[in-house]
């Protein structure tokens, strides 16, 4: 009987004090920017409604973003982006799921900045490709910040650029991601 009481207390304690490495981390307002650069025109767009979950316990990370959430400086560009390139009605979401390739390099219980590689699959425009991207994970008190920057080729995702605008739209675009994670409490 005494034993049981002890177990109950330990269990209760465990449920309250989880270490940072054991809980999941979440954001619903992460940022993704993409940048297309040609001598004729630079195009950039921001999305501040990126959903991401990070599970340090399993070394897993997942992202989801709505194509229509990208904001352009010009309304017409935004319309073309959704209608002609991303086909947002057909493919509303882009997503990424991956694992930290070298989990030993990061300690989620210790404040610091860790450079890791993330292996995973990126789905855009209905096409999924495997890729490995470098990322920076900064661990702070009750907060985790994840950052990455990488290039993708539009052709890999079956996004065609008409020859008429090939001078304005680059074949390769740079994607930057910045997420501030907070403990996931659901």
């Amino acid at each position: 009987m005494k034993h049981l009481k002890g177990i109950v207390i330990v269990a209760m304690l465990l449920s309250v004090i989880k270490s940072q490495a054991q809980e999941k981390w979440f954001t619903r307002n992460g940022k993704i920017t993409f940048f297309s650069e040609t001598p004729a025109e630079n195009i950039d767009a921001n999305n501040n409604e990126v959903f991401s979950l990070l599970d340090p316990f399993k070394n897993e990370i997942a992202f989801q973003v709505l194509s229509t959430g990208f904001k352009f400086k010009r309304a017409l560009m935004q319309e073309h982006f959704n209608e002609n390139y991303m086909e947002s009605t057909k493919f509303p979401k882009a997503s990424f799921r991956g694992t930290i390739a070298d989990p030993s390099k990061v300690n989620f219980n210790k404040e610091g900045t860790y450079v890791v590689a993330i292996n995973g699959s990126l789905s855009i425009h209905g096409v999924t490709n495997k890729l490995s991207i470098p990322a920076t994970i900064r661990v702070a008190n009750r907060k985790i910040i994840g950052e990455t920057k990488f290039d993708i080729s539009l052709a890999d995702y079956n996004i065609k650029i008409p020859s008429l605008v090939s001078k304005q739209v680059s074949e390769t675009v740079t994607i930057s991601v910045n997420c501030l994670y907070e403990p996931y409490d659901r």
């Binding site: 009987m1 049981l4 009481k5 177990i7 109950v8 269990a11 209760m12 465990l14 449920s15 989880k18 999941k24 979440f26 619903r28 630079n42 409604e49 959903f51 991401s52 979950l53 599970d55 316990f57 399993k58 897993e60 990370i61 997942a62 992202f63 989801q64 709505l66 229509t68 400086k73 010009r74 309304a75 017409l76 935004q78 319309e79 073309h80 959704n82 209608e83 002609n84 086909e87 009605t89 057909k90 979401k93 997503s95 799921r97 008409p162 008429l164 605008v165 304005q168």
Partner: protein, 314 residues
């Protein structure tokens, strides 16, 4: 004892990682969030005009649209055929316009049209405002835009009384259009629109109508990513007395019908059209279309639109 065990189990379950995979959890979160969010339907139409009619679309904030519209002469009939190279050597109306987006919902415009009936040399000022925007979740099933214009003719007045271009005062030169545009994008490929329209002319000849109502219907069907079929039609409600009076003078009115192909090439929209109406502005083609498709009295024409962004790039 049992209570304690249950409590222990309860806590253990809570501490254990959830069975859901990360992606499933994320799906759930995204769905919860997107449920409460309004997502406006985009690109119901390409550009601010269809063939003859306007569309529910306005320009983005700080965007400037430069348009050139042209209607050639009759393809066949008395004035068409080989002698005018199927109407191409005549132009029944030519218009140039500038429209500007003040906000994402409010647009102002100025235009000049040669004018097609006996009232000519037209200057137009217009306003267009998006009252309601269709949402993806279906809560708002249609987009509604209000349009209004004021048109003045700058031609010299005809000294003969009771002619359409006899202006005894400046006010006689004015005409107005008020229109409600109601559209729904049914799919990626099909958008349809209803257009209750009112045209008021300050001065008309005897037995003509100052106020004319019409109901327009228009649509756009995408054939490829960048090419679409476009068409619009106005049923004009002219009173019987006015119709018969004009008929005795040898003039029959027809409902304007336009159809064409629309090409969209990133910033440019080009319409290659066929219409029985000769004029470009509603103020003329709704009350005064006197040419009919059935007599080969239709013409080809084009609308060209180029949108410039006046917003400064950072």
């Amino acid at each position: 004892m049992r209570i304690i065990l249950t409590t222990v189990l309860f806590f253990l379950v809570k501490v254990l990682p959830a069975q859901d995979s990360l992606s499933n959890l994320l799906d759930k979160e995204v769905n919860i969030e997107s449920k409460g969010k309004k997502q406006f339907t985009y690109a119901t139409f390409k550009g601010t005009h269809l063939v003859n009619s306007r569309t529910i679309e306005t320009l983005g904030k700080h965007d400037l649209d430069f348009r050139v519209s042209h209607r050639f002469g009759d393809i066949g009939g008395e004035y068409g055929g080989e002698k005018s190279f199927f109407g191409m050597e005549n132009s029944s109306d030519v218009g140039i316009s500038f429209d500007y987006g003040i906000t994402d919902r409010l647009m102002v415009g100025i235009s000049r049209a040669k004018g097609a009936t006996s009232i000519r040399q037209l200057y137009e000022a217009s306003l267009k405002y998006k009252l309601l925007r269709q949402t993806e979740d279906g809560n708002i099933p249609v987009s509604v835009t209000a349009f209004g214009n004021a048109v003045v003719s700058s031609m010299s007045s005809n000294i003969k009384a009771n002619t359409p271009d006899h202006f005894s005062s400046f006010a006689d030169r004015m005409s107005y259009t008020g229109q409600l545009l109601v559209a729904r994008k049914f799919s990626e490929h099909l958008s349809l629109m209803l257009m209750p329209t009112w045209v008021h002319s300050n001065y008309v000849i005897n037995n003509d109508q100052n106020d004319i109502f019409a109901l327009g219907i228009g649509g756009r069907m995408k054939i490829t990513k960048r090419i679409a079929l476009v068409a619009d039609y106005f049923r004009v409600f002219r009173n019987a007395k006015s119709i018969s009076n004009f008929k005795t003078n040898g003039l029959t009115f027809y409902n304007p019908l336009g159809a064409g192909l629309e090409f969209e090439t990133g910033g440019h929209v080009f319409d290659f059209t066929f219409t029985n109406s000769t004029a470009i502005l509603e103020n003329q083609f709704i009350p005064y279309t006197t040419t009919s498709w059935t007599q080969w009295r239709f013409r080809w024409g084009f609308n060209l639109s180029r949108i410039f962004s006046t917003k400064k790039h950072k």
